[in-house]
Each structure stands twice: as C-alpha cells, then as structure tokens.
Symmetry: C2
Subunit: 245 residues, 2 copies
C-alpha cells in the first residue's frame, strides 16, 4: 500500500512526492539502476500532473538519487551516489553522518573588533564589531578541529553563552532565534602547519600538518553572516564534496 499525496498538506505536492519516491529508493523497493515508472505512469498513479511529477524528479536528480536518460527512462542511482554531500551542513551534522559522535568545548564568546580581512569578508565597515565564538570540536571525545566563528549580527541580535551551551548548534540558533537561514557558502581549503598553541589545543606536535578551512556563510538575501575558520588535524579529518555538472 503506497502512501498518497494529500492536497491539503502544507507541503507542496512535488515535495511530498519527492519524499515518497526517495522512500521507495531508500527502503530498496526500487533497486539501483532499475527504471522507475515513467512520468506519464506516475501521473495516473498519483493523480498529479506531469509538471509536478517532473518537479519532484528534478529534486531527486539534483540530490543524486535518480538520473534520467532521454528516450529510455528515469533510473535509480547506484547507492554510493545517493548521499548529496555538497550540501551545506553544520559541523555536527557532518560528523553524525559519518557515524562519529560530535562534541565541543566553547573557549570564548565575546564581541570584538576583528581584523580588516574579516571585516571585508563580512562586508562590514572599519571598526564594526562582531560576535566571535572560539570552539574546540571533538569527534568521539578527541579534539579534531579548532573553530573560530565571526558573526555579523544586526542591532539587537545576540547569542549568549547559555544558548550556545544548551543548544550546541550555532546554525539552529541562527535559524530559530534570529531567523537567519544559511543558504550558501564559499569555502576554501589549504594546508598549514600547527603553531605552538594550536598544537597544544589539538594534542599534536608543533609543526604538524593541518587542513585549514575558511568559510563565508550567506543568508537568504545573500548577505554574509558568518566567517568561520576551522583548523582540522591532518591525521584525523578528511573533507568530502560532491561535484555536479
């Protein structure tokens, strides 16, 4: 018995359908490399117009669950492609996805006037102050990264240490308290060597290789919200992306 599309649901139909199809893929009802019903078949199966069907399939194609072949049909992707990893995720989500238990130690949380490079990345005028949060990130209780966030918040917006400690996830505070929805980010990765302090905090030798990630996070209206710098232990972290044409 297959669930059905509810026209009175708050979620749009194409979204409901996409979820429904993804379920069939996830639970193995539709095997990798096999064809799913044609768009016209789905039309009558679910009583939904082809426009909507295609919209749902589009989503799953972009996420890597399905691929189309013109004239032949739409097929289920091999399993390993079914995880859309280029998606913008928070550090914790990222680790959980890999089966590692995330943790963190908040070293500081205060308003500061950062250096010009950071102001420029956040498109702020000289002398503007931002909220700086310094954290040590843990994976299964071992330090794996040093993270420093600089947040460009508006007048009246703030985040307290209590909130950070209670909630844990900066992204969910941004979304739920401040209504800032992360929607895009630019990230660069390079190699550096650990300074004495970094080495101490990460329990490694001074001069050990680190993976340095710098990310600028943009909100719905494409304004920069956060500049994050993360130093990962070179021996404990591997970065993964999915690229699409």
């Amino acid at each position: 018995m297959s669930r059905i599309i509810d026209p009175y649901d708050v979620m749009p139909k194409y979204h409901q359908l996409a979820a429904l199809l993804r379920e069939k893929i996830d639970n193995g009802e539709w095997q990798p490399r096999s064809a799913i019903p044609s768009e016209r078949q789905l039309e009558s199966l679910y009583g939904i117009s082809r426009t909507t069907i295609r919209e749902a399939i589009d989503i799953l194609v972009r996420q890597g669950y399905l691929y189309r072949e013109h004239g032949r049909g739409t097929f289920v992707s091999p399993e390993k492609l079914q995880k859309a990893m280029l998606e913008l995720t928070s550090f914790s989500e990222d680790l959980i996805r890999r089966g590692i238990r995330p943790g963190q130690i908040i070293r500081s949380l205060e308003w500061v006037v950062p250096n010009p490079k950071i102001l420029q990345k956040l498109e702020l005028p000289a002398g503007a102050s931002v909220l700086r949060i310094e954290r040590i990130r843990l994976g299964n209780d071992t330090p794996i990264g040093l993270q420093t966030s600089y947040l460009a918040l508006r007048e009246g917006q703030d985040i307290t240490l209590e909130e950070m400690e209670a909630n844990g996830s900066l992204y969910s505070i941004l979304q739920e308290k401040l209504r800032i929805i992360p929607s895009e980010a630019d990230e660069t990765l390079e190699v550096t060597l650990a300074t004495r302090e970094e080495a101490f905090l990460l329990h490694i030798e001074e001069g050990a290789p680190l993976l340095l990630s710098e990310r600028v996070l943009f909100a719905q209206d494409r304004r920069p919200v956060e500049f994050v710098k993360i130093l990962y232990r070179g021996d404990r972290y591997r970065y993964t992306v999915r690229l699409t044409r």
Copy 2:
C-alpha cells in the same frame, strides 16, 4: 538593443534566455542587489511563457547569479557570489578561471592492472586493466601538482599519447572521442607529506605538506569512469568550493 529569443535556434529557449540574462548581469546592466523585471514583465518583454522564464531563472539561481524573495521579486546576487565554483571543472578550466596559465608534462600513458582499491572505486572485477595517465601539472610553468588518472574504458576504447599531447584536455577527449560526458564526481581532500620522489618532482623538500585530492568521476549513466589522484603543493594551491542548501 536587447537580443531576442530565436525559436528556431537549436538551443532551448530557456537556455537562450538564461544566457541573455547572465549577460546583462555580467556587463553590469543590472546591478547587484537590484531587482530584475518580474516574471510577468519578462513574459511580455521576450514573448515567452512564464514556464520558460522560470526555468531560465532557476538555472541562474542555482548558479548563484540571482536570488528570489517571495512576494518581493528576483534580485541580482552580489558579485562575489556570481561564479559557481562547485561545478565540475577540469584542472585547466579551473586554473584559467583564476588567471593562471595551465600546463602539463605527461610522464606516462599505459594500460595497467591497478591495485584493488582503485578497481573497487571503478567497480571493476579483479584483474581488469585500466588506462593510467601520469602527469605533472604546471601553473605559470611551475609544478603545482602530480596527477594520476585511472580510466575505466570499454572494449575498443582507447586514448593515445598523441591525442593527449595534441588536445591537452582529458575531459574533452572523453567527451568528443568517446562520448563520455562527465556529470558527477565525488572528491575527498586530506593532508599528506611529500615522499622523496614526490618532493623531487614538485621541487620541494621531502616531508613538505601536500594537499591530496582523490576524485571518482561518473558518466551520464552514473557509471564510474575515472579515478584521479592529485597531489598539490601545499604552498601553491588552495581549493575552493561553493556549497548550497
């Protein structure tokens, strides 16, 4: 004078329109953060249905050129967001985009039986042979990376040294000669230290930090085509991605 949509063009209208709009953004006719004409206005401006208009805008939104705000309009993204970098690009394209002149030295090109890890990534049976291409990648004539590609080609498919040297781009040979269209890739990045041989080839010290990238490339039908391993000089290369929600 604005160009117009040609219904007899081989390219679909939404593609033509997207190109046309992108041009207006690129040449500054439409300023960042300003609203572009509404979808209904574009409809009558270009004599195209709203369906098609939206399809064109969708493309530009995905590429980061535009963003929508429900109830308000569609706006031009700030300039720095206008380059979609999460896209799958070849090494050469990538460098050219940054204003660096690419070059390469082909060290070898031969059929080999690779190790099991690589066979597994390419979903090939034990003992299968693949085409291995070893190259030194140059940026402005300086070595910046060591690249080893393993290609899973079908019976009868081959690439010769002459073709590689004449054409330079592996991706364009794949596409034009073998009709293999790269459409997705999984990439991982991590840190390693240079071995003696790597150090020699890259003109650096043994033990210097390197950025190691491993990429599996998938074709239209989501079959793995290439496994590439690239070692970048840590001091000369920075990796960039654009993440989207």
